[in-house]
Symmetry: C2
Subunit: 110 residues, 2 copies
C-alpha cells in the first residue's frame, strides 16, 4: 500500500473521529472493551435521536473503526482496536516530528 492510499484512508478515519459526537461514541466503545455496547445504551449515554446515532455509527463502521454483531434483536457495537493502532502508527510515522527529524528517504529539499 503506497503512501497516497494510506493517507487517503487515514484522512477518512480522522474525519470520522473528528466530530465530537462520534469521538465520544468511539471513546465509550473503547472503554466498553470486548463486551461492547448495544446501540440502545449508546443512545441513552449520548442523548441523541436513534436515527442520528445510527448515522454516526455507520460512518465509524465505514472506516473500519467500529464493528457490529447481532445478538437477537440488539446490535452490539465494538471498537476495532487494530484499526486505531494503525491510525496512530500512521500519525506517528508520517506526521510526527520524531519520524520527520530523519526524513532521509523523503524530498527534504523543495
Amino acid at each position: 500500500m503506497d503512501i497516497s492510499m494510506k493517507l487517503e484512508q487515514a484522512a477518512k478515519q480522522l474525519e470520522a473521529l473528528g466530530n465530537p459526537t462520534r469521538l465520544k461514541l468511539y471513546r465509550i466503545l473503547v472503554r466498553a472493551g470486548e463486551a461492547g455496547r448495544p446501540v440502545g445504551t449508546l443512545q441513552e449515554s449520548l442523548g441523541i435521536a436513534a436515527s442520528t446515532l445510527s448515522h454516526h455509527l455507520h460512518r465509524l463502521i465505514l472506516t473500519g473503526l467500529v464493528t457490529q454483531e447481532r445478538q437477537a434483536t440488539t446490535l452490539i457495537c465494538r471498537a476495532n482496536y487494530p484499526i486505531m493502532r494503525d491510525l496512530i502508527g500512521f500519525l506517528a510515522d508520517e506526521c510526527c516530528a520524531d519520524a520527520a527529524s530523519n526524513p532521509a528517504a523523503g524530498e527534504a529539499a523543495a
Copy 2:
C-alpha cells in the same frame, strides 16, 4: 482541563487533519522540519488555488497544529509538533485498547 474539553479540542484537531488536502499539507510541513515551508511552495506541491490553500492553512492554524512566521513578503509555515504529540497522546490514553483494558475509574458495566 477536564475530559470533555480535551475531547472537544481533540475532535477539532482530528477534523482539521481529516481532509486529504490538509493531511497532505500537514505531512509536508512535518517533513520540512524546523525550516518550514513558504506558502508559495506549498501551493506548487499541492496544485490548488492560492485562496484554497490559504483557507486550509487557516483551519490548521486555528487548531494550533500549524504556525506561521513572516519573513519579508513570504510567510513560513511550520508544523507545531507538541500539539500533534498531545493529540496522539489523547488518542492513545483515551481511545486506545491498551488504556481501556483497565478502565477501573470508568463505567464498565452498562
